[in-house]
Symmetry: C2
Subunit: 442 residues, 2 copies
């Protein structure tokens, strides 16, 4: 970094932002030791009722099946073949002034990762890290016509020890490969791709925010780039990743809770479709419905399914309900992975974690809007919240359903479960607690 800053006056001017960051960082490093001690003390004080240890079973509640690659896929890529072309000092972008007002996915780091696939050239090509740059593609590229595209959402967190961690990346890789198979796109070795991502993260490590109120969002993307108009598998593809510093979702909303539009006339996914795959095609049809929700002063869409109005997802999140069941027990419930629901990694982690706690019942089962209504009437609905990588946990305080407002007492609980879940997960993600789910990037 020092060599980069020493070139000439113009560069120094251009990179003054980096210089400020460098100085800030030095100060931070100096005070790190005392900060760490303080945090450890604070941590001890706020230890939750439910004990979380490194012994959490890393068997997934729904263990992903190993990927079966197409027979004629050709050769795979290896992280060890990586070529790196660094940005010139002139290409480096200033980092944001205020990590807490970043928003979501508006700003990108200096570098990106690209791996091309060309069947005609024998399969996957060598991975390359390049400066962040525009993609160049033929106007007939399949991605632009038939939505031959899929993506993942991951995050890199700067821990209290200064180390950078990612969360259960094997889960993302598995889901990405399943989506590739469903889209007629080439599959790949997840471990190799995670190694490539780690290299990218190391190069742009200064972009990982130095605060727990923010993180570096990782957006792996796979697109079909064959320049032919047949609705068919793509013999050329680009697997790439960009990085974007993002703020905390909790800073938005008056009391941090969201209001929802639940309109049964719109459906997100259906049996025999691809609602359980993170494909681009699941998102475009939701945009106008989200606009409608916003026009009615509501923040997200609650996606219902079927004549009984089952709750499936909220916005782009999984949904959880904490309530008192018919046996008078506290129970955490979320819809099962029945093909209509994205197999969320946060969802899976919450299920594994709360099952281990053993403090309340945990169940995967369908629940409906009439049930929600009835539980509310009886004072048995305690909390309703969305979960996902972007927000971790997003509490819900109101649902507009069939023209009526249902008020949910999620924010009125004394010791809310969603808060405990959020704290426990972020403690793991920011390295306050050692945990096998958190993978340190070297």
């Amino acid at each position: 970094m020092t060599t980069k800053m020493a070139i000439n006056a113009k560069d120094i001017f251009r990179n003054q932002h980096r210089l400020i960051r460098f100085i800030e960082q030095s100060i931070r490093l100096c005070s790190n030791q005392s900060l760490k001690t303080a945090q450890q003390q604070q941590q001890k004080a706020s230890t939750p009722d439910f004990e979380i240890t490194a012994s959490v079973n890393t068997q997934y509640t729904h263990a992903p099946e190993p990927i079966k690659h197409d027979k004629d896929l050709g050769h795979m890529f290896k992280a060890s073949q990586m070529a790196v072309r660094l940005a010139t000092p002139q290409q480096l972008q200033p980092k944001p002034d205020n990590d807490e007002e970043l928003g979501f996915g508006k700003l990108f780091t200096d570098h990106m990762l690209k791996i091309y696939y060309h069947k005609s050239l024998g399969g996957w090509q060598k991975p390359e890290i390049t400066p962040l740059e525009n993609l160049v593609m033929h106007p007939a590229a399949k991605v632009l016509h038939y939505a031959v595209e899929l993506f993942e959402g991951m995050k890199a967190y700067r821990g209290v020890d200064g180390k950078i961690r990612i969360f259960r990346p094997d889960m993302n890789m598995n889901r990405m490969n399943l989506a590739a198979q469903r889209s007629g796109l080439p599959t790949f070795e997840g471990k190799e791709f995670v190694q490539c991502l780690s290299r990218l993260l190391s190069i742009d490590s200064e972009w990982v925010p130095h605060t727990e109120a923010a993180s570096l969002y990782i957006r792996p993307t796979l697109i079909g780039i064959d320049p032919t108009l047949g609705v068919a598998s793509s013999d050329s593809a680009l697997l790439y990743s960009i990085l974007s510093p993002v703020g905390s979702y909790f800073k938005t909303g008056s009391n941090g809770a969201v209001s929802l539009l639940a309109d049964p006339s719109y459906t997100r996914a259906w049996p025999g479709g691809v609602g359980n795959r993170k494909m681009g095609s699941n998102y475009a049809p939701t945009i106008n419905v989200q606009k409608e929700a916003a026009a009615r002063g509501l923040q997200q869409v609650l996606w219902l399914y079927g004549e009984d109005h089952q709750l499936t997802e909220v916005g782009t999140m999984n949904i959880f309900m904490f309530y008192v069941n018919d046996q008078g027990e506290q129970e955490l419930i979320t819809p099962p992975l029945n093909g209509l629901i994205l197999p969320g990694i946060t969802r899976d982690s919450i299920l594994a974690m709360t099952r281990q706690w053993g403090k309340f019942k945990v169940r995967e089962a369908t629940f409906t809007m009439p049930m929600v209504s009835e539980l509310l009437n009886q004072g048995r609905l305690l909390e309703l919240f969305g979960t996902g990588t972007a927000c971790v946990v997003s509490p819900i305080n109101r649902i507009n359903y069939l023209g009526q407002d249902l008020y949910i007492p999620t924010m009125e609980q004394e010791k809310p479960v969603h808060e405990l879940i959020r704290e426990t997960l972020t403690d793991i993600q920011y390295g306050k607690v050692d945990h096998p789910w958190s993978v340190v990037i070297d």
Copy 2:
């Protein structure tokens, strides 16, 4: 053209293909008069039983509603503002040798049309025609992540009089705008866009094949190019069109008929979704199912819906059945526009046309696989065929349904209705019959 070819020896070499085409064309022009007379005589001889005249009611069976533009859309584009940058002689591509072996969407013409939309710049920008060139876009462009994209399929036909015609373009424009609204993309004035397309067609007119066995496929496309990762409306978009000379679909298949996989475990569209909009998101999920059909030796997918296994679409086409109804009458039936079905322009034209013929009953109604099975058993199913811009009419001779092969006698009829429909429509499209549906490009 002569000036383009007169530059130097290298250019002449490069453009020898154009020179051959020029000579061929001159010969064709000379013999045009006698050809025309011969065709007129032939036309008289093959006049169908059912009279088709220019009096066909151009009121659509489902008249499209006028587009309501967003209030804050900004200014619209005008065809009169068009900027044209022609390809240099070196950029011109050789035209295909054999129009009849073109396949579909593999080859593109020399020029393309582009119209950008930027909300921040006040709305739609000036239309431009440029050489066919790669698109350059940010790796975060919404089209690459959330399938913020839609398209149309149109064709330019070279008539027997040498004039170039397009077919009911107002219908495509309306459908495109409806898809834009559903996708959070900006709408536009269809008439202006058709004028822009006409200009593009004039410039690349030599690419419109000189045969009735081929045509020039027009692919208008609208994509969201905002470089931000929020799942939201796109404030920047690109409306573009490329052109591709395509062969006839009828040359494929042993006897010209297709076999279908009907697997009720896959669903194309569902109530509350976007199956009635030509959005990219409807296509990616079909690719793997189409692969499965191919692996079983079947050519297309028959998309079923619901527990009663309703027939909805076939491949990317609408479906029609010609059969003997319970009253012993011949009847042509196609599923209604209930939200699960793309409002096909060929579908609409066939309905209008056959209703005017008055020779058999015509009805829009749901029909199911058990009905198809029963009609076959009773010898009352006469024909089953797909319809669409790419193929016009595609007869079906076999359906693999729940592991059983159902043989459809579509190709065994003496005077098949699907043939009559195809001839009538292509006669209009290739200008053998004057008809208001056919729009001549000047």
